[in-house]
Symmetry: C2
Subunit: 622 residues, 2 copies
């Protein structure tokens, strides 16, 4: 076990340090540009944003590569023990990342005289998160798809088989893509919401005084406390599945948070409508989680239908999955829009209420991040166990825990998308309000034309990230094939494949391919703003955010649905591993991979980054 | 041949008359509602719109089921003769549908005192087109996919094999989906553009007098003449492929049209900027056609890459196709947006110039419609030839002509999407201008929230149409399997399958499934407008149109790309029909089918219908 875990740790660390170096090629130039354009404080805040976002990812990844081997060995004792170990590992990430964000913003708020440089911090955090997510996503899915295409389809060896040269790259990928990427993302979302919250809080100081500025910070702090209560409940309860215990913890955390929010609203702001606003945000995220659970849960109609229809082959499985996936975007968007409208109307037309609703969507962040970080730990533990040949019983426990991780992953992505959609909405309300643009002209076509371009942006962005994954996977396929062909005794398990070579290929590809989409995301708003002015930039922003939200929910849910439909077919319902249904479900799963783990999560960061960029350059456009 | 053609004709006519009956269940209620709400003239115009749109489709379908058998027998003489026969058949449709629209609008314009009832005509035409396209699309692709899944994958018999019970339903589908559906669609687009053109022309009568109102009609008439010149060139030229001759005709028609437009602009309106505006629309459609040709053409990088990568299996083929497809939406949208901005800026800020740009996108309609109607004629002819066992040489000619039809189909869809995108844009400029809404408030969240819902609408709509196709295909699979199982001697070709049963299943499914998406498309704007008012309705409209345009280009291009990647693999580049690459490309092709032939074309009509509905109910919202 230690040997395998060692390979993973080396590969993960090597990738992250190369990633930092690559990001380091872009950051100094931006730092100088920001210093010149906005002054020293914004530039310094930007640099702290970049650094802390990367550190947040690093924490998540580091905890994961330590907890994976502990979880694998805990599985020898019992499934409950393994579950607890993995989830506690996840919660270290969840709590430390949110606490880090809170700490950083409190410090900056105290150090800095005004709030403006905070936008630099948000921009830096978003930018680093974007690179980490795109790079990590491309890495993990190139390795995963490459390993599966040769391993499962050509050589017909099981998943995580030590003879597959790409298997370590795949396990490394779980850490750099899921842990490091999501850690940075959550850090960014959590921070951005406080930043826009404080900016609008300052605008509303006539109503709430200084409390309005502090409220977002206090609210997030309460959220972390509520999540700690929820986290403490997560363990193996008698007769209950791990995922039931996770949902129980989630609902308890929600209840505690709702209570805390009520107390805060009444004491700090003395405004009951603020409580309702925050609650509506919290409920919108829960709705998004439940909808995603419906569309991707093993026992529900969509997955059962997809598994059944897989008997007709891969194509009809994919078509059916698409039909469900496209639908699955609708309700979460409705829930988010409803939260916005309810907050605004009940507060008698206050933008501040929408901001509070937005922070309401973050209240469960620490819990959600813990469940999310749990996933790759369980996944890695299962891989380590298989490769080091533990007992069948321990292996079966870990397989179950891995499946729970998959379900939670879909839920956490839905949560993050709902939260990010509201964040983006608040960002452009902040933008229009800061820019002093109360209305958009529609008697001339400029603003609407810019909106079309905005809707188009996420298509280009997704195309780049998905294409990069396909390129990387193909390179991986060629390498794994080559090793099987050239290395004598590999197929018989008599020799060890060259894992390092695959790790290196995945890393080189990911780092090369992450640059263009990364640059696109922050340069598009700059170009638009400079060429056509703040009004057109604003509508482009709205179009991009709306389009990214819909595509994002679609990609995340359809990918998770394919994954779970495969899991259902694997139970043998429609034949064994040679059946049409099984092969069809594997194809669906692979198609879904880059959608749910590269394009979807990257779109989430993308839509927040374009907003932050717009806010940042606004000062230059006047 | 006559026997097979007879089966097709019976199936086609039976479906169309059932479709008319189904549409007849909705139309009378709307007629009464419109009479009560808007008065007799609007209601009558609505009814004429429905009737003429269905007649346009009927013409296309009727010409096709007569030309298909002639083309098949002409192929015995020579490929050139078959090409000419099929294209002349197509041009009957192209010319008569455009002429019908022109005639109807001239008549209505003369008969009616004011222009308002014309919106009823546009709404009726759109509504009928939508039902025809959704119903026809679901029909054709259920039959096609169902036939392929059992025929090619399970029984391993060739395409259009007479032992396959779904084969007649598949051939009928080509007529009801591609001919009848596209005929109605084109009729609608052609008509809608003249209607919005005349309405805005009336607003601009201070500048151009009565000529401004007549100009759209005259411009369309000139367009038809220009296309006749282009059509007359289409035949087999020595040493040139049929598709080269088609592109030659297209470019000649464009040149003649540009010249005609110049003459008209200078004589009728004496305004050179109007010529530039119209030309920019014409060029935008040509760009869309060329981009789609790049992404879906057999010799170009995307298709070669997809064919090559198919060696890695179906999943990676689909992922790569998606990456290209998502990209392929960008340039056409840029071209359309550029045409809008150029027209507006060069004319010194005149909305009328945008209207002319929009009609500029229709100038090639008659030609494009002819090429489009050519496709199913060639496809049907090939099917008839195979089933009646003509010489290998004739069959090979028809196969080539069918492939040309596929390429043209992708181009015509790109043309129609570009034209429709501009139509939708003009519709909501007309809407905001008629509603007297010069600006939208963005300091309150309502308009932006409605925009999000608008962006979501096409996702729901596509989900319904794609899901319906999957359901229909599955029913077809069960039936074809049943016949192979239960009918003695069918597999050996000793008995004829029950074609009628499959025709019936496809029809019943399509008619049942077309109702909900159809109702959604016209009820969503009504509900939004009544509940939240004209401003929110307007932004929902913009969001829906932009989102539908992007999704539409994506679906159309990705489907055509999968189709042609399969054609490239079929040449044997990466192995025979048992190879991984071949099977992977077949899966891709099937996944693309409902995207390019159901969801994409339906979205096109959808985005125009929501606009027409909004224009129609605007009077009730004040």
């Amino acid at each position: 076990m230690k040997e395998v875990a060692g390979y993973i740790a080396i590969g993960t660390n090597a990738y992250l340090s190369r990633q930092v170096k690559t990001i380091g090629l872009v950051v100094p130039w931006l730092f100088i540009a920001m210093w010149l354009a906005f002054g020293s404080w914004t530039a310094i805040a930007f640099l702290s944003g970049v650094a802390l976002s990367l550190i947040a990812g690093y924490i998540g990844m580091n905890v994961a590569i330590r907890s994976n081997v502990r979880t694998a060995s805990a599985a020898i004792v019992s499934m409950g023990s393994a579950f607890r170990t993995a989830f506690m590992g996840g919660s270290v990430t969840g709590l430390s990342v949110t606490a880090l964000s809170l700490l950083a913003l409190c410090t900056l708020r105290t150090t800095l005289g005004n709030l403006e440089p905070l936008i630099g911090f948000g921009f830096g955090g978003s930018l680093a998160a974007l690179f980490a997510q795109i790079g990590g996503g491309i890495y993990t899915k190139s390795a995963d798809i490459g390993a599966d295409l040769v391993g499962k389809l050509e050589e017909e060896i099981p998943e995580d088989d030590p003879r597959n040269a790409a298997v370590i790259a795949d396990l490394v990928g779980d850490n750099v893509g899921d842990c490091a990427g999501r850690g940075s993302d959550l850090f960014q979302s959590f921070s951005d919401d406080m930043i826009t919250g404080m900016i609008l809080g300052a605008i509303f100081s006539w109503k709430y005084g200084a409390n309005g500025v502090v409220f977002p910070l206090v609210m997030q702090a309460t959220g972390i406390l509520g999540c700690i209560v929820g986290i403490s409940l997560v363990r193996e309860w008698k007769g209950r599945s791990p995922s039931a215990s996770l949902f129980l913890g989630l609902f308890l955390a929600s209840a505690v948070n709702a209570f805390g929010l009520y107390i805060l609203s009444m004491t700090l702001l003395n405004d009951f409508t603020i409580f309702i606003a925050g609650l509506s945000g919290l409920i919108a995220t829960l709705i998004a989680v439940l909808v995603s659970e419906y569309y991707t849960g093993l026992g529900n109609r969509p997955i059962r239908r997809m598994a059944e229809i897989s008997q007709g082959g891969a194509a009809i499985n994919i078509i059916t999955g698409f039909s469900f996936g496209l639908q699955s975007s609708i309700l979460p968007i409705l829930a988010v829009v409803a939260a916005i409208i309810i907050s605004f109307v009940i507060s008698g037309g206050s933008l501040y209420a929408i901001v509070v609703a937005n922070i309401g969507t973050d209240l469960l962040s620490a819990f959600i991040m813990s469940s999310d970080a749990y996933g790759p730990i369980a996944d890695n533990a299962e891989g380590i166990a298989r490769m080091s040949g533990v007992s069948a019983e321990a292996s079966a426990s870990l397989q179950k825990l891995d499946a729970v991780g998959n379900t939670m992953k879909a839920s956490t992505k839905a949560f993050a998308m709902a939260s990010g959609t509201l964040t983006a909405f608040v960002t452009f309300l902040t933008y229009f309000s800061t820019a002093g643009i109360p209305t958009l002209a529609v008697s001339v076509p400029f603003a609407l034309a810019a909106l079309y371009l905005g809707v188009a942006l996420p298509y280009l962005f997704s195309s780049l990230t998905i294409g990069a994954t396909a390129n990387g996977a193909l390179r991986m396929v060629y390498e794994v094939r080559r090793q099987f062909r050239e290395m004598v005794g590999l197929r018989e398990g008599k020799t060890t494949p060259d894992y390092a070579r695959c790790v290196d290929i995945a890393a080189a590809n990911a780092l090369k391919e992450m640059v263009i989409p990364g640059i696109l995301a922050f340069s598009a708003p700059v170009v638009m703003g400079v060429l056509f002015g703040p009004e057109e930039l604003g509508t482009m922003l709205v179009g991009a955010a709306a389009s990214a939200a819909l595509l994002g929910f679609f990609f995340n849910n359809v990918g998770a649905a394919f994954d779970n439909a495969k899991k259902l077919v694997e139970t043998g319902l429609y034949g064994d591993r040679g059946s049409i249904a099984y092969k069809a479900s594997v194809v669906g799963d692979t198609v879904g991979d880059p959608l749910k783990d590269v394009a979807g999560p990257s779109l989430l960061i993308f839509m927040k980054l374009v907003g932050m960029t717009a806010l940042l350059i606004l000062r230059l456009l006047h």
